[in-house]
């Protein structure tokens, strides 16, 4: 289709979806490359030990290059003509209903492709150094490639069933990688916990798909989004809520957030890639991708907003109490994704900002995690921040990149997080004052806990164990950190200036809604920065001016509750796990005693009865003769009686 025709068609703001040709026809290759890596490494066995890690890294790099070429090509297309679909083959034709293996490459998936392959590539490079001494690193890289392939499938799929395939694929990769060191029982348990909680969310996704099949007769994006306008509001609400349930599972949002903290059992590069930058943002992608559904249902959007705002506060509070550097960052991830979900729930006013924050967060949080991994690498895998302190002199490069990420996440201008978080808070304020206030409060707490992490790790006096010799990490680890650090600095402004990200995503999520604000934007920004600085100041007075005790103090009731993630595990255990166990125990009892009792009982009855009958067969011919005679007499007697 030529540019003029597209321009003509798109007068009404309609998005034109055309068949993928040229370089866009290679979309399948984006997924195939890392999938090939996973296949070679996981099936090739020990033969691939030598070249495997580098091979896997190269494949992800190639995927990134391909994505980059496609991106450049896409930028050259007119704004309304940037969506391409490609149908490889029909996967499951069932009567009128069929599921295709097809891909949709549009600005939204493009943004994800670049994020996943770029951050994924950097994490691969970082892992070359981080996992250098692990005997099992071939398996590690195989899983990483599997993850990248699944994540790309998730964001490139053109129908919900294929999204579900990717959705499960990333869940599997996440499970395998959390439990990568599965010789430790608690790590294996953490992996299982993550998988099971994800499955709870996945049920929402599968039910939503079933509802789509019965309502629209198709699961393709185009069919669902055009059919949704005629669907009854109840169905739309149900689909929206089910998709939200799926999103809460994958994105660690309330009430399915409990797995993310334990997921930190995995190797740190995994935490950076899967549990910070990409996989956990899949829920945000799902909601933004399904924007026509959420646009039509205020109820579903309200639920999304509530989940987002509650999680952002929850995660922030939990983050203030954690002494494990990775768990503090995990709580922060939870909270930041809460911001994204909140933005996504605001509807057309927020979709673009949700993705904006997702992209910047992908960079600075991956940078922070890689920094944390670098610290652990230098400190013999110590994760307790109370055993750090004063590390900025020992690891200057790690410190600088971590500090840049820190400035980005707390939203100091001009770092990336400032632009993205500011826009979300503005949109929330325009929607509802209380939402905005909660988001601003969250920003203050974010500043507090991130300052706490930085102060306890890099500043203050040294509290290391006596045999610790902190040292800077090898170059394969620092270069990715530096690149992500650069991203944390510039990405926000690059995407923000001239509303680039909003215009880029406009073909997918519709134009941004203008919102009225009671007070000028500059004043809001000033308030946010002031709250942030207050958070930093409080952290300064608590963790830098006073020495940090190596033993964690008992703390107030709130601190202890936050350390225990507000007893969510205890809650889940007592409300879901125990009753579930009792139910299964009862069912086992019922099966053993009642069902088996019935079956075994009838068998015993017949067996016992026949044993009694057998006694009649005495083996004495004369007793048989007697019974025959008795029978004959009986028959004759009856005959005589009847005749009479």
């Amino acid at each position: 289709m030529n540019a003029a025709a597209i321009a003509q068609l798109s007068e009404g703001g309609e998005q034109v979806i055309s068949e993928a040709t040229g370089i866009f026809g290679l979309t399948w290759l984006l997924i195939a490359l890392p999938l090939l890596g996973a296949a070679v490494l996981l099936l090739g066995g020990r033969r691939t030990n030598g070249f495997g890690p580098l091979f896997a890294t190269t494949l992800v790099g190639l995927a990134f290059l391909l994505g980059m070429v496609q991106f450049v090509q896409m930028v050259g297309e007119p704004a309304a003509g940037r969506s391409f679909v490609q149908s490889l083959f029909t996967w499951a034709p069932i009567g009128d209903f069929s599921v295709d293996v097809g891909f949709q490459l549009d600005p939204l998936s493009m943004a994800f492709v670049l994020l996943v392959t770029f951050v994924g590539g950097l994490v691969h490079v970082y892992s070359l150094g981080y996992m250098a001494d692990d005997p099992d690193r071939r398996r590690f890289f195989g899983y990483l490639n599997l993850f990248v392939a699944s994540m790309l499938l998730l964001v490139l799929a053109s129908n919900y069933v294929l999204v579900y395939v990717g959705w499960e694929g990333v869940g599997l990769a996440s499970y395998l990688l959390i439990g990568f060191w599965n010789a430790k029982a608690e790590y294996a348990t953490a992996a299982k916990k993550a998988f099971v909680m994800n499955r709870v969310g996945d049920i929402g996704m599968s039910l939503a798909i079933m509802l789509m099949v019965t309502t629209f007769g198709t699961t393709a994006f185009s069919g669902v989004f055009s059919g949704v306008e005629e669907a009854s509001s109840g169905v739309v609400l149900a689909i929206g809520l089910l998709l939200l349930l799926a999103a809460t599972g994958k994105s660690a949002q309330l009430p399915l957030q409990a797995w993310l903290g334990d997921a930190m059992a995995g190797p740190t590069p995994v935490s950076a890639l899967i549990h910070a930058a990409t996989m956990v943002t899949a829920g945000v992608y799902l909601i933004v991708r399904s924007n026509p559904i959420f646009d039509l249902s205020d109820g579903a959007r309200l639920a999304v907003v509530l989940v987002g705002v509650l999680t952002l506060l929850f995660g922030a509070f939990v983050g203030t109490a954690k002494d494990d550097i990775k768990k503090a960052l995990a709580a922060s991830t939870m909270s930041q994704i809460g911001y994204m979900i909140l933005a996504a729930g605001l509807g057309p006013a927020g979709y673009a900002f949700a993705i904006f924050h997702l992209l910047t967060h992908g960079f600075f949080k991956a940078g922070l995690f890689l920094g944390a991994g670098s610290v652990m690498h230098g400190m013999d895998d110590e994760v307790n921040m109370r055993r750090y302190g004063g590390l900025r002199k020992a690891m200057p490069l790690t410190f600088i990149t971590f500090f840049v990420g820190y400035l980005a996440i707390i939203g100091i201008p001009p770092f990336a997080g400032f632009f993205s978080k500011d826009k979300i808070i503005e949109a929330a304020l325009a929607d509802n004052v209380w939402l905005g206030a909660a988001a601003i409060l969250g920003a203050g707490i974010t500043a507090f806990y991130m300052s706490r992490v930085v102060f306890m790790t890099f500043f203050g006096e040294r509290r290391w164990a006596d045999d610790a010799h902190p040292h800077e990490s090898p170059r394969s680890m620092t270069i990715p950190m530096v690149l992500l650090g650069i991203g944390s600095v510039v990405l926000g402004y690059v995407l923000y200036s001239g509303s680039r990200i909003v215009l880029w995503l406009e073909p997918v999520v519709g134009p941004e809604e203008e919102h009225e604000l009671a007070i000028p934007v500059l004043a809001i920004t000033a308030i946010i920065i002031a709250v942030t600085l207050v958070g930093v100041a409080v952290a300064y007075s608590m963790y830098l001016r006073k020495p940090v005790p190596v033993q964690a103090p008992l703390g107030t009731v709130l601190t202890r509750a936050a350390r225990q993630d507000f007893y969510q595990d205890a809650f889940n255990e007592s409300v879901f796990m125990r009753p579930g166990q009792y139910l299964t125990r009862f069912l086992v009892f019922f099966d053993n005693r009642v069902v088996d009792g019935f079956v075994n009982g009838s068998a015993a009855l017949i067996g016992g009865g026949s044993a009694r009958l057998r006694r009649w067969q005495t083996g004495f011919v004369r007793s048989y003769a007697l019974s025959m005679l008795a029978g004959a007499v009986l028959v004759v007697g009856i005959l005589v009686l009847v005749r009479l």
Binding site: Q617, A625, L629
Partner: protein, 99 residues
Amino acid sequence: MNPENYLYLASILFVIGAVGVLVRRNAIVVFMCIELMLNASNLAFVAFARLNGNIDGQVVAFFVMVVAAAEVVIGLAVIVTIFRTRRSASVDDPNLLKL
């Protein structure tokens, strides 16, 4: 002579035969008692033929004789075989088929 007396005789012979089957252990004697019962019934058949004035009963009596002859052939063979293998003609001994 009243033909009913033949019936009484037949009943007595049959009961003797039946009791013999039940109480005797020797297979040969049991066998002879069975023959006695068969011949008691033959006598009853013939008496009835006489009473009713037709020959149906006599025909059946011949059939019974044929059956009895066949039975003797097989039964004696069985008894002799059992006696050869087990050195006993008692009907209580062969109970190997009992579980």
